[in-house]
Each structure stands twice: as C-alpha cells, then as structure tokens.
Symmetry: C2
Subunit: 405 residues, 2 copies
C-alpha cells in the first residue's frame, strides 16, 4: 500500500465525461489498495472565461478579487469529482485550499506556500476516503484567498506530497512523459523512463514545458518522487528522482531547444570596470530576463557585449540599450530575432569529457555556425540560426544515439 | 449617515451589464454618505447550471459536495461587483460566508445561521469601503461550506443587518414593492408604502412571494426594518416594520390568495375522542402540510373532517386517508382540486369588528359560495371555487377601497 498524490490538469477535467474518466483512473488505484489524494485544476477554458469577465468589470482587475474569482474554478471540479467517485461507490471528500489549510504569503495571483496542515487529509485517508483537493489556491494569514499563479496546481500537488510524505506524486498531463526531445521535430524521440531533477529543470527551463519549473524545484528540495504521465493513455510515464549514484547514467538524457529568444549586441563600448553592470543593470531593472551573456574584448580598448532576452522583450531591451550606448559612447547596438538555442542535457556529462567537442563537430558537419556558447555542469547550450534548428536537433539526436536505450 | 444592507438577487446580477448597474445603484448610496453592505446571489441560471452538472455526476448528489459546488456562484458575483465598484473609484472588498464568518449548523443545503461575526465588516466600513458579501452561504463549526437553501440570500441580508445593527435592510427584486393584491388580477392594485411584519408574513405565506418567509420572520425577531424595492426602477418600495401604535392603521392592508391547494373530506367518521389525531397524524407524518381544518359534527354520532393540503400532495394524502377510512369505518373520502383560498389581511382588524360579515356580504352579492372559513387575529380566509377567484378578489379589493390611500 502506498500513499499517492495525483494531479489532473484542466484538459483532464475539461468536461463532465472527462471528470468521470478521472474517477475511473483514481478508483483503479484505490482498488489496488493505495491511499489516494487527488489535486485538480479548473476545467480547461474556465480560467480564461472568468478572466474575460473580470476584464469587463475592471481594466486592471484587483488581484485580491481576481483570486476570489478564479478559485471558484477548482471548487467546481473538486466537488464534481467527489460526486463521481461517490457514485461509483468510493468514499470521497473535497477540500478547498483554505479548508486544508494551505497557508501562503500575501502576494495575490502568485503566492508562495508557507505551510500545509496534513492532519485533515490523513484523517480522511485513514477513514478510507479519497481526498480531493483544489489545486492552485491557498489562504493568507489574513484569511484572504490566494492563488499560486498559472500552473500552480502542480505546485499544490508536490507540496501536498511533501507534507503528507507521500510515496509518489503523479502529474497527469496530455503527454505521456518526458522525451529525449520534442517528437514533433524528431519522430525518433524516445520517452525517458527516468530523469533526474537537475536534468528536468534544465529541460523544463528550455521550453520542454511538461511541468512547471517551480514544482520540480519543490519536488527536488523535498525529495518527492515525481512522475509525469498521461491522463488519456496507459503507461508508466517518466519518473523524476534525485540522482542515484548506483544508476548507470546515460551521457546525454535529452536535447532541449528554445525558439523564443532574441540576441542583442552592443559594440565598441569603452572598456572599464563596472561596465557589465552599467549595461545589464537597467535591463534587469525593467524586469527583462537575460539568459546567455558573452563579453568579447577588442584590441582598441573597447569591448563587445552579446546577450539573449525573451523575444517579446527585445524591443524594450533594445530601447534601453540605445540610451545606454549614447551615454557610454558605444559604437552601435544591433539585434537578431532569428536565432535559436539548442542544449544537450545530461548528468553523465559531469564524468565525461569531450561532449562539447563532439557536439561542435556534429554541427560543423551540418555546416551550422555557432554564434554563442554557454555551459553548466550538466548542460551545453549553443545559439544558432533559427532556420537551422531542426537539422541541428535531428543530427544531435542521431549522433548521440538518443533514439536507443 | 446610515448603515444600509442591500441585497440583490440573481436577476439583478444576471449579466455583466446588470452587475455594473448594481455598482451604479450602490455608488449612489455611498455618495449620499451612507455605509453600504451588499449581499449578492449567484447570477440567475447559474445555480440550475451547476445542479445539472451535479446530477450528471451523481444520481442523488451528496449534500456536502452540493454546497461546495453551488457556493461558487456567489463567489463569482461578489468578486465581479467589487471590481466594478473599484473601477468606478469606490473602495470595495468581497467576502464569502466562511470569511465573515457566517456560522451555521451542519444541515447541508438548508442550514440555519448560528452566529455572525460583524467585526471584519465594521472594520472595512470604517475604512470607507463597500463590503460585498456572498449570500446563501455559511460555514459549519467543522469548517465545511454550508448553504441556507433557496432564497437564502434574503436571510443572509437580514441576519447581517441584525448583526451589524443596520438602519435598514433593502431587498432589491424584480417587483417594486408589496401590493394590496396581485396586479395581474386587479389592475387597480396599489403599492403599499408600509406593511407590518405580521401582515407581510400572512401575505407571503399565501403566495405573495416577494420575500422568503424565513427572512421576514428573522427581520421581525431582530426588529430589522426591511424594505422591498426594485433593482430596475427608482422608487421607495415598501417598508416592512414592527407595528407602530401611533401609526394610523388601515382596516385591511391587502388581499392574498392561493390557487395551489386541494380540499379533502372524510365523511361519516364514528365520533370519538382522539379522532382528529388519528386522521391527521399520518398525514403530518408523511410531511404533508395541512392548512385549514374544519370539523363538522353530524347527528348520527358521526363527524365529517374537511381540510386543505398543497395540491401536489393531494394524491398522496388521499391514499393515506382511504386507508384510515377503512380502519375507522368511515363512510367515504372525497376531494376537490378546483378550489382557491382568499384572505383579507390587516392589523386594523384587531380593533374593528364586522370585517368578516362585510367580506361575506361582498361574496354573497357576487353569488360566490363559501366552502370553508378560517380566521386569525389579522386575517380572514375563505375557500371558494377556483373559477370564482378573480371576481372575488376584484370585488373585495373594490369594496374595501384598497385602491385608495
């Protein structure tokens, strides 16, 4: 017998029929003798519907009232699933965030969980009931309803699993696991049976958006075994765990990529101490996230800075940079929107040299020019032309034999 | 400056535009310097929509989960109205039942209010805010969400007004007040400026369903001045108050009627002590509400019983009565579905004799036969043929000069 926390997203509870399907899936685990806690999102589309209503009422809706409004979405699904389970003859009880309670800070629309009281849930599980909890929502010390932001239901599930000391936290989505890379680009992409938290974080932050990064960080911190699997098909999905030293580590676990960045370059900046901060401080102050940064010293006492930002923020960043360039007397500011970032991710890299050079050779063989390079302990990222992305990912996937177990 | 509790029903908040209208109405009172607490129902149609969903999930939906589901309806309207008020530049904050808290007993779907903590509301009012409270809902000692049953938002408003010691509780509906009788039957029917709680209770229980009886009883008990008025038009509506001895009481305040009853008669019952209980006990046990009762002693040692029940319960009551008739050896059981009850209501009756005889004369002049008569201190009711109802109400309205102030 295990204690399992299962989270079903908006698509999985998107209709009454699908909610009945979830009841069926849950009941199977109960029949196998497990204790099950279910975390639900609102029905898909509901959050948007409510948001539209709010915007009709108020140009910039009050965040406290927005949380009050949006949290009705999960309150609907948890009660309906409890009814569906009861109809099938299973004991079930629903709880909102404040009823548990899931205590959060006061930052409406993106609150962080402070603490969870697991007593009520344990009580109900011990009475043989399935406990159905509203995801995404909590309550402030003040007694106001708060929400954890988009995708917050994943965080709720992981936090509950940690508080309950659950054996596993299962996140049901519309994909059946984590793949070596996006199967839409590489049809040979293979589902991974396991992946480490660190790898998953690198994959997720690069656009492989199976899970919210925050929930993976949370699971990693509290060592909650996390499994991603499909609510529509059968299959074991992908288990995300802390690194196991006995585990035979593959060199590379996957290839992540991101087409959503732009490159900015400021050239001919008079080189002096503090120049990096003078340039990048104002960009950060504007809440623009800088990803890769390269500085290249020239021979004429000037230096060039190249960095990437989310494509949607490029125009804003460019504007800021033009102002700075004028003040500092830099030569010019240029940008490029047609770039892409490709990354090899794998904990096996730590103990193997030569991965980077192998990667560069594969790209060279394809005549793909590398514009920027960045590395971490378990990741090598390169920036290339966006038009060459697919061929880069395909060649790397094949050369590193990611299609083979 | 007064403290006013205003309640708007489902029709008044039935669309985003109507919610904006409510914001406008509320803001007018704030501009006049009043402190305003607003109680809202769910958008019209929403409760039915949610109920249908529940029935798809569970043949007989769990009452606890039903309350969890339905209370999302008001949570949506209170947040939207708060936003609309804020957009107009007014401070506003919404509260659900559990946030106040409005403590109820544990009877899900028809809970009764145990207590209300008014502190939070007073705090917010003193900060100059409009406080928007979800009607219909509360919280049990256990921390479960409860509801007060259909029409419970009126009860919430009155209970809040009592707890806050409000100067007035205004119930906004789709009618503009309480009338001397139904204007669809008597076009000359006149809106009453004031009516006493006792009269209102008699009017309401007879089918003049402007207000939920429970909220009137509550208002009467806690002496909360209650005003019924229209959310769509201007006008002072009808003020319902405790009886004022200095007030010049009209003889008759209004004429109520009810077409929804049936008459049952059991004839030739051997007359002996306890016979009334033997007959009526089983009817009451079946949860059938008996309204008027008449016993008529015959000369042959037998007696006849005549009583009225809601028309929908007549078949069931008849069946029970047939069984009893057999046991007691009664002669026969007959029924009549085509009856109607007409009642004159007025606190002025207490100090005036002869109202009944005047009523009987008016009906006799119209050739209307009276089948049953019942009286209370402030009401005279007669049962007549349903087909003669309209002409009875019209003649009485005219003869008692209810169209004149």
């Amino acid at each position: 017998m295990a204690l399992i926390v299962q989270k079903y997203g908006g698509t999985s509870v998107g209709s009454l029929e699908r909610i009945q399907n979830v009841a069926k899936k849950v009941s199977k685990f109960v029949d196998e003798g497990h204790q099950v806690v279910v975390v639900l999102s609102a029905m898909s589309g509901e959050t948007n519907r409510l948001t539209e209503m709010a915007k009709t009422m108020q140009a910039r809706p009050s965040k406290r009232e927005m949380d009050m409004l949006l949290t009705t979405g999960e309150q609907v699904t948890i009660s309906l699933l409890s009814m569906a389970l009861q109809e099938k003859g299973y004991g079930a009880i629903s709880y909102t965030g404040w009823q548990i309670p899931i205590q959060t800070d006061e930052v409406h629309t993106k609150a962080r969980i402070d603490s969870i009281n697991a007593d009520k849930i344990h009580d109900q599980l011990n009475q043989g009931k399935v406990v159905v909890v509203a995801g995404f929502q909590g309550v402030t010390a003040n007694g106001d309803i708060s929400t954890l932001g988009r995708g917050g239901s994943d965080t709720t599930a992981v936090a509950l699993a940690a508080a309950l000391k659950a054996d596993e936290c299962q996140i049901y989505t519309d994909v059946d696991g984590v793949y070596t890379t996006d199967p839409r680009v590489v049809p040979e992409a293979r589902r991974l049976d396991t992946i480490t938290f660190d790898e998953m974080l690198e994959m997720a932050s690069l656009g492989a958006k199976v899970l919210q990064i925050r929930s993976v960080e949370f699971a990693s911190k509290y060592k909650v075994p996390l499994r991603v699997l499909s609510s529509l098909t059968e299959g074991g999905g992908t288990l995300i765990t802390s690194e196991d030293n006995n585990m035979e580590k593959p060199l590379i676990s996957g290839i992540a990529f991101n087409r959503d960045e732009s490159k900015l370059q400021i050239r001919g900046v008079p080189d002096k101490p503090g120049i990096a901060f003078a340039l990048l401080g104002p960009i950060a102050d504007a809440n623009i996230e800088i990803d890769m940064i390269i500085q290249n010293q020239g021979q004429d006492g000037t230096t060039d800075f190249t960095f990437t930002v989310p494509r949607g923020d490029r125009a804003h960043a460019h504007e800021i940079l033009e102002g700075i360039a004028q003040v500092l007397g830099a030569r010019e500011v240029i940008f490029d929107d047609s770039i892409a970032k490709v990354s090899l991710v794998g904990v096996g890299m730590r103990s193997h040299v030569g991965i980077a050079s192998r990667m560069f050779k594969v790209l060279a063989d394809q005549n793909i020019n590398i514009q920027m390079i960045a590395t971490t302990e378990i990741k090598i990222s390169v920036v290339i032309k966006e038009s060459e992305l697919e061929s880069a990912v395909k060649s790397l996937h094949q050369q590193f034999e990611l299609d083979k177990v």
